[in-house]
């Protein structure tokens, strides 16, 4: 446990960071997120986020404005998606994910937020609004631990590859059909195309290498992530292996939500998914805010090393 003693509003408080697994996730106590945070507290949280990838805060009971204000300490919010109409009407930064138990197409998919954009979100926060009594947790997986636990030979191979990320088919169709444009990182978005990112990225703040991959949207091969340097069968096999490797128990954490809880994660080094193990008649409501990121950079020698 790391304890940072801080003088905050003339009141001595301490932020405690307690890891909850061996590689990913820490629970933070000793901070009230409804109040303004001192620069020291923000620095302590930023550093903890780099170390643990996802931070959990319980019993905070923030409202929408407080969640946005808290998220702003770590960056500038984007609208919930690059297409309009996906966020709350009054607060387009707030996304209420569809209740995963309502889904009929099989278990929820692991994903990184907005990986299909040239500038994927760097950090997201997620806040419990209404929860089932049991179940409905969220899992995160560490792409840093996934990279570091591969053999050097495979790391060297992956270092030079890239990934094509198709956008969610519904969003793409919405803009293609002449729907109103959206905004992303301050720019107008009137169409969505596939983007390419390096498969292995270098974190802009920690300098650590991590895999940057998720299986993709739509469940089918058309919507799936693919490695353009490889044949389709080679790509399918490698993506399947890497997704299984990233999401193995050694590299994941499972957070059981409690009323008033909030999670803050580094979207550049994690993928996450909800757990749809609860009664679908129960309304599970969470609110997400995502922060503007930059184009992911590859390792030296990768064609995306210098972007």
């Amino acid at each position: 446990m790391t304890t940072t003693a801080l003088l905050d509003d003339e009141r001595l408080s301490s932020v405690d960071i307690e890891p909850v697994t061996g590689v990913i996730g820490a629970e933070v106590t000793g901070v009230d997120l409804r109040r303004p945070l001192s620069p020291d507290v923000v620095a302590a949280l930023t550093s903890a986020l780099l170390d643990h990838h996802v931070l959990f805060f319980r019993d905070q009971h923030l409202d929408i404005d407080q969640q946005i204000a808290f998220s702003r300490y770590f960056g500038d919010p984007n609208p919930s998606h690059p297409v309009p109409g996906t966020g709350l009407a009054e607060q387009p930064e707030i996304y209420r994910p569809r209740s995963p138990a309502e889904a009929t197409e099989g278990p929820p998919s692991w994903h990184a937020d907005h990986i299909y954009m040239h500038e994927p979100s760097k950090i997201s926060s997620l806040r419990a609004v209404s929860l089932p009594p049991v179940g409905g947790g969220t899992m995160w997986a560490s792409q840093v631990a996934a990279y570091e636990s591969l053999s050097p030979a495979l790391q060297g191979f992956l270092d030079q590859l890239s990934v094509v990320h198709p956008p969610p088919p519904g969003f793409r169709a919405q803009l293609a059909a002449g729907g109103a444009p959206g905004r992303w990182n301050g720019r107008v978005i009137d169409r969505l195309d596939e983007v390419e990112h390096p498969l292995v990225v270098v974190h802009p703040e920690s300098g650590k290498r991590s895999i940057f991959l998720h299986p993709g949207y739509g469940g089918g091969r058309a919507g799936g992530s693919r490695i353009p340097e490889l044949s389709t069968t080679e790509s399918d096999a490698l993506v399947a292996f890497l997704v299984a490797h990233i999401t193995a128990p050694e590299r994941t954490v499972h957070f059981a939500w409690t009323p008033g809880a909030l999670a803050l994660w580094d979207n550049r080094v994690t993928i996450h998914r909800p757990v749809a193990d609860y009664d679908p008649d129960i309304d599970r409501v969470l609110h997400r805010v995502s922060l503007q990121g930059e184009p992911p950079r590859g390792v030296p020698g990768n064609r995306f090393a210098d972007r």
Partner: protein, 305 residues
């Protein structure tokens, strides 16, 4: 949803047993047990909770070895605690697993953790385990559990009927045989694990207490499906392994020193999470007692072999 609702309600009984479900598929955390004073009434409530949740966690039980054995007997008669390891001194019912020892073996053998059910290569595999986390790392070294019953319930009816009639082979793998040789205790119920013939169990079993169907193949010891080609077996087993271990059917438990778990091998797979340095400073030392089990019976035949 009535079954779900009844299983999911936190409950404090008249005699103070506090049972809180941890997921919708399996497992509950239990408080209100005093090892020095367990009445017949409390023992009955514990057995009912065990049948209902398939795993019970007692976060602060801190049993002595004698109390560990006595507590385990509340859930049924015992069998040997391991097919490969000797028992701890003075307690033939208890075996100990130490992360340093496991890490040293792993460094030699390259063994990686797999989901499994203990000793299913036996004709009568142990019915369950009573597990005491003696000393665990501050973070890391959790155990994952998966509900084979919830997984069966969430298969489509044609898949359920397809599986119902099948039989699978179970054998001790290289890892078990190597450990048996290392510890010089290579027998189970009097037979050397080297000589145990390939065992057959139904792919879907009926739980002996509740009658609920559960998938009874596992990645640790199942080697094929009777009558299937190797490619057919591999396809069906790989699908089942991915399906059973979906997050929707699992629970992850973070141990504290002194925590005890009782889990049901007829309904649950488990898997150690090695997300800490086994050869470094942190120690994970756990002790296990095993409950005796009957020969698993097929669900398709209404519980008859």
């Amino acid at each position: 949803m009535s079954i779900l609702t009844s299983v999911l309600t936190s409950h404090r009984s008249d005699i103070g047993l506090d049972v809180r479900p941890l997921s919708t598929s399996l497992a509950a955390e239990v408080r209100g047990v005093d090892l020095a004073d367990i009445s017949d009434e409390l023992a009955t409530e514990l057995r009912i909770a065990f049948a209902r949740h398939q795993i019970l966690f007692f976060p602060e039980l801190r049993p002595t070895p004698d109390q560990h054995v006595t507590f385990a007997r509340l859930f049924g008669p015992l069998t040997r605690p391991s097919s490969v390891k000797p028992s701890v001194d003075g307690h033939p019912e208890i075996t100990e697993f130490d992360s340093r020892e496991l890490g040293e073996q792993r460094a030699v053998s390259g063994y990686r953790e797999r989901w499994h059910v203990d000793i299913t290569f036996a004709v009568e595999p142990p019915g369950g385990a009573v597990f005491h986390a003696v000393e665990v790392p501050a973070a890391g070294g959790d155990t994952y559990f998966a509900s084979t019953q919830a997984a069966y319930d969430r298969l489509s009816p044609p898949w359920q009927r397809f599986l119902d009639g099948l039989v699978a082979f179970h054998e001790p793998g290289r890892n078990i045989l190597a450990q048996a040789d290392k510890y010089g205790q290579p027998d189970w119920e009097g037979t050397s694990v080297h000589d145990i013939p390939r065992t057959e169990h139904p792919v879907v079993i009926a739980h002996p207490v509740t009658g609920r169907p559960g998938i009874f193949v596992n990645p640790g010891f199942t080697t094929g499906i009777k009558g299937f080609s190797e490619a057919e077996s591999r396809t069906v087993l790989d699908f089942l392994y991915a399906h059973v271990t979906q997050p929707e059917h699992t629970v992850r438990y973070r141990w504290r020193n002194g925590a005890v778990a009782v889990w049901d091998n007829r309904a649950v797979w488990h898997r150690r999470v090695v997300d800490f340095d086994e050869l470094g400073g942190a120690t994970r030392r756990v002790q296990r007692v095993q409950l005796k089990g009957d020969r698993p019976t097929a669900y398709a035949t209404g519980g008859l072999v």
